[in-house]
Amino acid sequence: MTVPPPLVSAQGIVKRFGSLLANDHVSLTVAEGETHALLGENGAGKSTFVKILYGLLQPSEGTLSWRGEEVRLRSPAEARRLGIGMVFQHFSLFDALTVAENVALALDGAEPVPSVARRLAEVSRAYGLPLEPAREVWRLSVGERQRIEIVRCLMQNPKLLILDEPTSVLTPQETEGLFGTLARIKAEGCAILYISHKLEEVRRLCETATILRHGKVVETCDPRAVSAGMLAQMMVGVGIPPTRHDPLEQAGPVRLDVRSLSAPSPDAHGTSLKSISLDVRAGEVLGVAGVAGNGQDELFALLSGEMPAASAETVIIDGVPVGRAGINARRKLGGAFVPEERLGHAAAPRFRLSENALASGHATNGFVRAGFVDRGAALSWVDRVTKAFDVRKGPRDPEAKALSGGNLQKFVVGREILRKPRLLIVAQPTWGVDAGAAALIRQALVDLARGGAAVLVISQDLDELFEISDRMAVIFHGRLSPAQDARGLARESVGLLMGGAGFAPDAAEAA
């Protein structure tokens, strides 16, 4: 009498990158047909582990077994031959090719495109994943692109499907659709390894959860049997207090006034902005929700002044028309900006923190006298940011790229907030940041607003926006919905707006 061996079993997986230990003796087993969650904060080692499982990375130590037999996966092709499929967080699709062509490219055999298209249509019908094989990828929404990736995996009859943060780019409605599909895949007997840091999803979908922290397995449990709070605590190590966010008594004067702002996108695959109007008052946080790629980058560039608007009157800060003014003129009016990309945009990776403080503060912080840089002043500014925002770093003034994502984010947000701006515009303030740092940043944003500043937050994280916004608007295909009071606003109605419902018909652009 023997117990059947698990589908896949990893024993003592160690992966080193230089001195960094990304996986520290990780052991995990997935049974046939099981839906298994891999939980952990950003940087906990989840992605490293699944890349090893998919043959993209080789472990430094440890073994993998497939149905009881030890295997070495030297490439994704070998993993696919065993029956492992993976849907990545960032898709690997060619925009200019059709759905069927993309799938045909990814299949290991040399199957002609028409027959691939036929099978693709069958599989997508069978699993309720509507896809048109002949459509070009650039015309598709993010959710549709993800479907291609999933169908591509399903066409190879996988025994184990790995999904890396699949819902991070989806609207709530698209997420529901995905869950329906996963239930069907599961019913076929396929095991799923589901990577996420969204606890509610995991509690709904999975019967087992393995929690990683700092590269180590800290717990394996049934997520349905424990509370979300418990799971969060296991992920982070300590309890995270919720953001203090008292209702707004009385909003102050309008600090940022945007009137019918339109702009063509400078880049061919970007989004043009169409007649965007909004206002942010002193004391409040305005949240702009939306799925990535709906004009958020363009909106930030136009509001910050990195890209000038067509007319000065379209962007007004504290009564001054600044649509044509540069970013430093807007900073001098009390504006402060935090872009989405930490490395390369908010901070130059190979420049020291003091130099990065100089980059955004040279016009306003008194770091420059008669053209000469006062390094001492910039350095003491770094010290103040470090202290106020708990930026953890080794040396006093390291290069930006030496900081972890969360600490660098605390720095780039902190260097702006410490200036006490009257207007703060921030994109994705806690993207890819650990829960502790995220909580600190969100609280700082709310506190800044309550202290009399106007705060505009552009984010794809709905939970975050509901936590900190007083009013919310949704950006879709370069248009902005009217802002609504965030209290009493239903997630579903925001989700519908994120999917385009409720916008004028020409906005949907059925091309």
Binding site: F17, G18, G55, L56, R74, S75, P76, A77, S92, S304, G305, E306, G326, I327, N328, R331, F337, P339, E341, G344, H345, A346, A347, A348, P349, R350, F351, E355, N356, L358, A359, S360, H362, A363, V368, G371, F372, V373
Partner: protein, 359 residues
């Protein structure tokens, strides 16, 4: 089986100082091999190349004269390269500086003039070099034309213009039909620093430029702007710096410095315009800039070293009967090794067996 370059996570700053020295050492070893293959005693040949140029006062003065244009040009080029503007046409800007400055000397020839002539020539030389350098800047910022090509092609424009001028309108009427201009008057020549020898005020100017360049890059907001634009263009835009304005600025500065080098060379060592006034200073300065790690003080050291190869090459021509091309071979090897050492500084090489990851 194949070779793969992977980026090093932590290139140490110490190594970036050692790497030029390794490059120099490798050049010397390769040079020794080359001399052996040519049937020469490598010790003696390398001695003539690298020791004789620094063995007496006269030789040291020559060294300064040769290093001056290299240092002046390479400081300007460093600013360009740091900010991601690839000015390859310093040779042409050098020639154009000589033409503009020479025009002042020729216009004031034989008429009453004063000590203002040489400063005026330097100013005109800087304007000339800068104007030529602004052509690629215009083409880059306005039409997105690749500045490497446009700046390089303008070299030939400047050289042919000089050639035509000294064979045509500016030819010395008393010059027995030689293609050269009149000898500049004493006011139009660079001040000599020593009674016997050719070292002139230009060498001092080069040192001043090095100091100013070091201050600009190390201490001022403009220097920070130059480095940030080159290192992280989006972060530079976020800082409110304009890439286009930067392109104009660094092309103007580097063109002006190359033009200054050109007029100093003509007014300091030749005393007249000739069809060819440069043994390739503008191109050699590219090597100097990289060997000096795009740092003004580094450019000074590297400029002196490259000047040694120029003079060593001349000495070798005389005493070993080697062609002057050997100098170019040395300079080429040096640049090759500098770039190779830099590549290994930022990348590590790995041998991969079998098929690698398909993705």
């Amino acid at each position: 089986m194949r070779l793969v370059l992977t980026k090093r996570e932590d290139a140490s700053p110490w190594m970036s100082l050692v790497s030029p020295l390794v490059a120099v050492a490798l050049t010397l070893v390769s040079g020794a091999v080359m001399f052996v293959l040519l049937g020469l005693d490598p010790i003696k040949a390398l001695g003539i190349y690298f020791i004789s140029p620094i063995s007496d006062v006269w030789a040291l003065q020559e060294l300064a004269v040769k290093a001056t244009p290299l240092v002046l040009i390479s400081v300007g080029l460093s600013l360009c390269y740091l900010s991601n503007n690839w000015n390859i046409g310093a040779e042409g800007q050098f020639v154009m500086g000589a033409i503009f400055g020479g025009a002042v000397a020729i216009a004031t020839h034989g008429v009453a003039n004063g000590p203002w002539v040489f400063p005026a020539m330097m100013l005109a030389g800087m304007v000339g070099g800068a104007l030529l350098a602004l052509v690629p800047a215009l083409l880059k910022t306005r039409f997105s034309a690749n500045e490497i090509l446009t700046s390089l092609m303008l070299v030939y424009v400047a050289e042919l213009l000089l050639d035509w001028l000294v064979r045509g309108p500016w030819r010395d009427p008393q010059g027995f039909n030689f293609p050269q201009s009149v000898m500049f008057e004493p006011e139009a020549q660079a001040l000599r620093l020593m009674a016997d020898g050719r070292v002139n005020i230009g060498s001092l100017i080069a040192v001043v430029v090095v100091i100013l360049g070091a201050i600009l890059l190390g201490r001022t907001l403009k220097g920070f702007e130059i480095r940030l634009v080159g290192e992280a263009p989006r972060a530079a835009r976020f800082a409110g710096f304009s890439e286009k304005r930067m392109t104009w600025t660094v092309f103007a500065i580097s063109g002006a410095l190359a033009g200054l080098a050109g007029i100093i060379e003509v007014a300091g060592t030749m005393g007249q315009l000739q069809p060819s006034i440069s043994p390739g200073y503008g191109f050699t300065a590219i090597i100097v800039a990289f060997l000096g790690r795009l740092n003004p003080v580094g450019c000074l050291i590297a400029g002196l070293f490259l000047a040694v190869t120029f003079i060593g090459g001349e000495n070798a021509q005389i005493s070993l009967r080697l062609p002057l091309d050997v100098t170019r071979v040395f300079q080429g090897m040096l640049l090759f090794y500098v770039l190779a050492c830099d590549a290994f500084l930022t990348y590590r090489i790995r041998l991969v067996r079998g098929e690698g990851a398909a993705a």
